[in-house]
Symmetry: C2
Amino acid sequence: MTSSTLYGERLSAVQSELGRCSASLLVVGLSSSMRYLTGFTDEPGERLLVLLIPREGEPGFVVPELYAEQVLTATGLARNFVWADHEGSHHALAAALKDVARWPGPVLVEESLWSEFLLACQRALPQHAFSSATPILAKLRMRKDAHEVELLRRAGAIADEAFRRVLETPFAGRTEIEIAAALADAMRDAGADGTAFEPLVASGPAAALPHYRAGGRRIARGDVVILDYGCRTGGYRSDISRTVVCGEPSREIRAAHDAVRDAQQRAVNAVKPGVAAEEIDRTARDALTSRGLGDRFIHRTGHGVGLDIHEPPYIVAGNKTLLEPGMVFSVEPGVYFPERFGVRIEDVVVVSESGSVPMTAATHELLIVG
Amino acid sequence: MTSSTLYGERLSAVQSELGRCSASLLVVGLSSSMRYLTGFTDEPGERLLVLLIPREGEPGFVVPELYAEQVLTATGLARNFVWADHEGSHHALAAALKDVARWPGPVLVEESLWSEFLLACQRALPQHAFSSATPILAKLRMRKDAHEVELLRRAGAIADEAFRRVLETPFAGRTEIEIAAALADAMRDAGADGTAFEPLVASGPAAALPHYRAGGRRIARGDVVILDYGCRTGGYRSDISRTVVCGEPSREIRAAHDAVRDAQQRAVNAVKPGVAAEEIDRTARDALTSRGLGDRFIHRTGHGVGLDIHEPPYIVAGNKTLLEPGMVFSVEPGVYFPERFGVRIEDVVVVSESGSVPMTAATHELLIVG
């Protein structure tokens, strides 16, 4: 399939969904969804650049002049409204919305579109209701095709290789930031386009903070260290967490690691088509609760992974989405002991016809690093 | 001044502005403005995390449980509404907004807040109007204090050092991506926290695309190469563009470079307190027009630089903002010849009492690289 056919099919699928829910149009900012639908995106910024997809007819962009040629070349879409820096985007946006908003139904908005631009759309279309496009975009993006899975697999293999490489040098005496940089370098050397997110290296008490990044702290004997990182290849991302210990672990650390490892494996084993996303979360949570650690597991079990590092389906209580082949998400239970340590183990898996296949293969053993 | 005093003063200044424009409250997502006002931020994501600043009284966060401790420790703000993954953010947001939206005036929204979260706020406060917070946030953030200028200066010095380093190795035969990586590495080695944005290395015909990034193209003799890059130090950014040529330049390339260099210098020389931002744009544009290149200059002359790489004041036709000491922005005219080459020269300057001071000092000569 040529890429223009691929994007044409995805745009048609969006338009079918817009018809099904009687929406007027979809507004997409610079985001992974723009890339998914057209092959083009860039970092979001203060210059308004949006893709407008009407329920019927040709999609087009409202685009700053200095992007116009790039957008046309990259996407082949030509129903564009171009604005120059000295004019501002106001008139181009109003003209474009007037041109495409020909139905009374709601205007759907891609989730990460800047509020500044949503407010401008609302001013231009005061009679329309606005609501989230996440349900229809998630529906289309959640099931990955074979090419997407291949890119995700490659990104996972690079993360595995970086784990092997980073273990070649002792941790003691190095800072978290140094180890984060070593992971990033190893992934680039192994062919990554870049990191999937700023690598997280949390040592000692910081390992008890699930969303700590990496700091200037030097790793010392006795520290537990959580590594949580991934890379991008062709836009698709990997995400892996492993917990290691610098020197001999205490019994408590071993017990926590055993519990998380068991919970993670049980949750992965529970993945198959037809099971609700929340069931995977419950499986991990029940396993930790049975060992008295349920209240130490203070986050959801996982999140979808694709062009975004966090995307649907979320593996969380209340999410009744039934798993289907091609869905890709992380399974990453963890336990956190404030001001002392934490443990997390994470693999991304793709749902297969009968179960799941992990994207990363690094050992789940508790590794002792120097 | 302790940092908590600094943030307290900035929050008070916001509240004064909210009172002045009779607004009810300000909603700030994970962004540079959150960092500016509280010292805390992170990458924006799908979990709702917003700072709510009422016109009067204590500000607070709506915050996911797994960030709650970090946010409290980093900011000292305690009027927080915490939500857990299994609950979702809906109730916490509604309760928080009800608690702080005690006035009938509009709710102001920080520009980059995700639309998904603005829609949620609009559902929770159906009686309130919503509008952009950019005017009041820009007013506060545009004038940098001495500490901010020092960080910007340091970021500029690192960019200069990277330019010196990247010229040590011939360009011919290397790819754009390799040179972009060399710039990023040189900045990290020189003490940067990271890049200010993905470095732009545009060679040959790609140099005619102002917003091209860097690709797999190998640089060859005869190519013009635009380097446009910068770094972060303590959150503040640098931004520099230089145009070099691989081998002997043609007369046409020399003439274009001379014209841009002259236009850039004239524009920088025009910077002083009391001059309108649009005047700086006009100065650069008139200089290029006088050489018959006005229609080749297809973007604004510059943008403010600070915690964001693009922020007010924008140096563009129609912007009547009067320059004040402490304002920091780029001056970066360029000319573009589609499918052939382009030239851009950029420095960031800070407005002083009587003129301006550049943050970067790398030569403006047309350098010939191997």
